[in-house]
Symmetry: C2
Subunit: 611 residues, 2 copies
């Protein structure tokens, strides 16, 4: 390992890649892959995509001159080799840790990372902008967009593809085709790619048999030809010299070029190549065997409880259908998908379509539709939610997974802005359960509200009862979890545990705080709050959401609207700045969402003035 570290360290001046002999490139790839595996076996992280794109990355840096040439990675969870090769090998073991390297591209880290890009499908639009700016300014660097096959299921990529001028030169698209989205690949474009790969294989076999191969794939039928692209393919994505050759040829072609290269997600680690979905993102593992270390038995997470109960709902309700934009695994839907394949729709990375498609399925109540979507990705489907679901008054259930901090992923992935736009939608119900039981109550009740319902929950472990029979939760009914007086802590969802800690500390100071779980962010349980106002004059809101546009803001509006003046409202949540990645506890401390920090800021002297 030390020898490896030394070899790679020398590459901190990565321009040396250009000076290596061809046969040395493969050794370099081996070293980089070993480094990734070594570090990830101890720290966890995105595995399969990163070890699958080592040769691709080395070849890019062999042929192009970053950062003058702009290499723009889509989604950018596959940039570990790129980070190692651009001066970040030393820091690489801090990947995804608090104040360490980001698991995605990060312009703050390096001039070689041009854009934040945790949400897939942006690379082509960005690259197109960079290339146009270059041409208007008269410089001549190459602009290279590196995309996976999954990105072509995303409307944003296709909009960009539609906008590439056939005259645009020094514009190179590298299609890293591993025939995998995060889960299984899907869609008609992917089907085209599979055909090209198959034809290519046939042609290779024919060539080996000394039969004259036809030009495969025939460019006349290439999907990409319709977009004015020159097509080079198919290149073996684990042959670093073949890749470098292809990139060099692309440099000399007039007009935009797409290089179609096939890679194996998880290449270089047999277990990961066998099950790339399992090894997409991993915890620690044995670097020799590839066996994942078993986690100590912990409580179940909200997504797991959601997924389990969803299958039960599916068993009772033959009209229940489930849609996911490429997240069956992460959102714990695999059980439902395996049990009810005909009622399961993985639409690819197509969040807008997922929501509008749901509207079609829910039309005239033919189907009871659940759209499972990460809170941060719902940002891509706001207009669809507005026009196709809310305006249409369709009772679709939106399951907003990863609502709250998404700690190790960081700024691109935190689901902390959703309430801001959801609350502006007339008729929409917004709820957040504090534990697995309330989650199941809400799932059980949602369709009976006969309105569109958004259930938001984080990827955190939580309490849940075994053999629980969910009960009906009436619309807009909050709950008092602990009755005190004067001071009421209003906590959103899982932060009720924080509320209890805070109440405990307050009780040590002789203050008997009330704890309220509103459950319904919208419509708010106004009756409950009016009732609380009878013997409380100090409200404290705690939420894992941008504080300026979440529960606290809604409560301040409620008080103002009802001209309630003699009340003190203190609001705790995510401050108005971007929050980076790290472990959950450190992030909570950074943003001030721990009991001691809140206690310190609580304006409670009046309790003592009066005593």
């Amino acid at each position: 390992m030390n020898a490896l570290k030394c070899r790679l360290m020398k590459l901190d001046n990565f321009t040396e890649i250009k000076n290596l002999a061809e046969h040395q490139l493969s050794s370099l790839c081996k070293d980089v892959r070993e480094r990734i595996l070594q570090v990830l076996s101890e720290k966890g992280g995105h595995l399969a995509s990163n070890i699958g794109s080592v040769e691709l990355t080395v070849a890019l840096h062999r042929v192009f001159s970053s950062p003058t040439d702009k290499i723009i990675f889509d989604t950018s969870h596959q940039t570990y080799a790129h980070k190692i090769l651009t001066g970040r090998n030393e820091q690489f073991p801090t990947i995804r840790q608090y104040q360490g390297l980001c698991g995605f591209a990060s312009p703050k880290e390096s001039a070689h990372d041009h854009f934040y890009a945790g949400h897939a499908g942006t690379a082509l639009s960005l690259a197109l902008g960079v290339a146009h700016a270059r041409d208007l300014s008269g410089s001549d660097e190459y602009v290279i967009a590196v995309l996976g096959d999954a990105a072509f299921s995303c409307g944003l990529t296709l909009e960009a593809l539609n906008n590439i001028p056939s005259s645009l030169s020094r514009f190179i698209i590298v299609l890293n085709d591993n025939n995998m989205f995060i889960s299984e690949s899907t869609g008609n474009i992917n089907e085209c790619l599979r055909n090209y790969v198959k034809q290519n294989k046939n042609a290779l076999e024919a060539a080996l048999k000394r039969i004259m191969p036809t030009k495969i794939p025939d460019t006349k039928i290439s999907f990409f030809e319709h977009f004015g692209l020159n097509y080079i393919g198919i290149v073996d994505g684990h042959d670093v010299n073949a890749l470098a050759d292809a990139f060099n040829s692309a440099k000399n072609i007039q007009g935009p070029v797409l290089i179609h290269t096939t890679t194996t997600k998880g290449h270089g680690m047999p277990k990961a190549a066998e099950d790339p979905t399992l090894y997409h993102g991993v915890g620690c593992f044995d670097v020799k065997t590839g066996n994942l270390h078993k986690k100590a038995a912990t409580s179940l997470t909200f997504p797991k409880i959601f997924g389990d109960y969803l299958t039960k709902m599916g068993q009772k309700d033959p009209d229940l259908v489930v849609i996911t934009p490429a997240m069956p695994h992460g959102a714990c839907l695999t059980d439902f998908f395996d049990t009810f394949p005909e009622r399961s729709f993985d639409v690819g990375i197509a969040e807008g379509h997922a929501v509008t498609f749901a509207a079609g399925l829910a039309y005239q109540k033919k189907k009871n539709v659940v759209v499972s979507i990460y809170a941060t990705f719902l940002q891509r489907a706001l207009d669809n939610l507005f026009q196709d679901i809310c305006l249409q008054e369709l009772p679709v259930l939106l399951a907003l997974d990863r609502g709250g901090l998404s700690p190790a992923d960081g700024s691109t992935h935190h689901g902390i802005y959703d309430i801001s736009f959801l609350q502006a939608m007339p008729g929409l119900v917004i709820v957040q359960p504090r534990d697995g039981d309330v989650l199941r109550d809400l799932m059980h009740s949602a369709f009976s509200y006969n309105r569109s319902v958004a259930i938001r929950y984080p990827n955190q472990t939580t309490h849940h009862s075994t053999d629980y029979t969910p009960t009906y939760r009436p619309l807009s009914k909050g709950e008092i979890l602990k009755k005190g007086s004067k001071l009421a802590i209003v906590s959103l969802g899982h932060l009720s545990t924080l509320a209890f800690k805070l109440a405990e500390m307050l009780s040590q100071k002789g203050i008997d705080a009330t704890i309220v779980d509103p459950i319904f962010v919208k419509p708010l349980d106004e009756e409950l709050f009016f009732q609380l106002l009878e013997d409380h004059n100090h409200f404290v809101t705690i939420e894992e959401h941008a504080v300026n546009s979440g529960l606290g803001s809604i409560l301040s509006f409620f008080f103002a609207k009802n001209q309630i003046k003699d009340v003190r409202l203190q609001m705790f949540g995510i401050p108005d700045k971007f929050i980076e990645h790290g472990d959950y506890q450190n992030l909570l401390k950074e943003i001030g969402l721990t009991a001691p920090q809140i206690l310190e800021k609580l304006d409670i002297h009046e309790f003592f003035d009066r005593s």
Copy 2:
């Protein structure tokens, strides 16, 4: 006209279309077109698209059985003939008027209108959902999506296209190809369509010369083949019998079918066919000559003032570039586009791409980028704004046109939710100018803030000085427009005129109100508000935005955050329900945004208790 009305009235039971002889269909089309022209000449509305799709609509109702068969119109501003033929001929003259027929499809109006669809690109996703629900439920109706060529520039359409199973039957896509977006057509897919049309024309000419035509277009190279679609084309979209034949053939094909039909936007009215952009949406006109009635000279609108000054900025700043998603005409950009074509980008109906593409152009400050986008369509680019602009800290200028009510268009088009999600974005500046001079000040100042700036303004006339030299507006500085005491009216943008009216009424009651223009919704001019709090204890906010998530809500949060308790805040804006179409004055009255209505609700008795 009476005879025409009678003939059409009989068709209120539109199933009769099925019983007409073939030769009668053309007469029916003529009657419908005449009816549309007659009514629109007196009332205005979407003209060119509607008279261009008469034959298409008649043929659809000839062959399919609505509403059992589901005809789903994309964008749905071309549904006038459909409305006339499905029982709404009598009411047709009320189109786009207050409490009259909606200018788009409206499920509230008729069982033949399935979805609200003012925002383009949703039809295919919706139809796909309806078709899957049908198959899961075992019924056998046809599902027909009717799309323009412009819809294929929209990522949502392409996401849906990627998700059509090749096994899906009784699923028919009608591509109404008029080679026009609202303005000029654009993009690579459109280029493909143009080639097919050209090849088809060549083949027809060859056939006329008795030369054997090749099968045109060769299905092997059809763009749509990649999506598993059967392709029928090209059908003359003004030959109602040819269309009916094509629809009948499509009925019998296994798997999904796309029918490519060409129409002329504005067909049947020479002036409209010549300039379909001008005649896309019109005011009154002479039905015989087609001449548009000249409007009385009025003040300029915010969009016009914006467009004029943008050209001036472009003259001074060679790095200024402008992007629009298909709205150069509506957003008054044509002058800039004509003057600086190389710095003008119309990306088609691709709002997400427009914003992410802007990020690429603005990268490393190579270009000063203006994205002009309607407030309601920005809902399609929230995630792009979040990740690609705000997180990246790029100083892009977003010009949010149609911010506020979009009266005649109605519920799908009001730009009244944008502040809700914009204010959650860290670092973003949100401003709204009260008149044409402040608008130009803000445009002049925006890039110097070195942050992303959203300027929101309505499509209303406003004051502007001629030969005005814009002055620099410091970041976060509001303005007191009239100094009074105790009661402060805080009006957003153009509603300052309403604030002055209200102040005038208050002054008649002996109350000397202050009028404040915050200009900056974010960051709020906190200093100004603290200063106002010294001699004001009653604040009234007035805004053309959803009241629960706009300026009033932001002010309530500000007061709570700063523990300002002895203040009364009354917030007036758009209530939490969907607002339909109508004229501006009636809509304002409906939502209570007129001076007498606000006055009535103002809690001002305290002023008199004290006197």
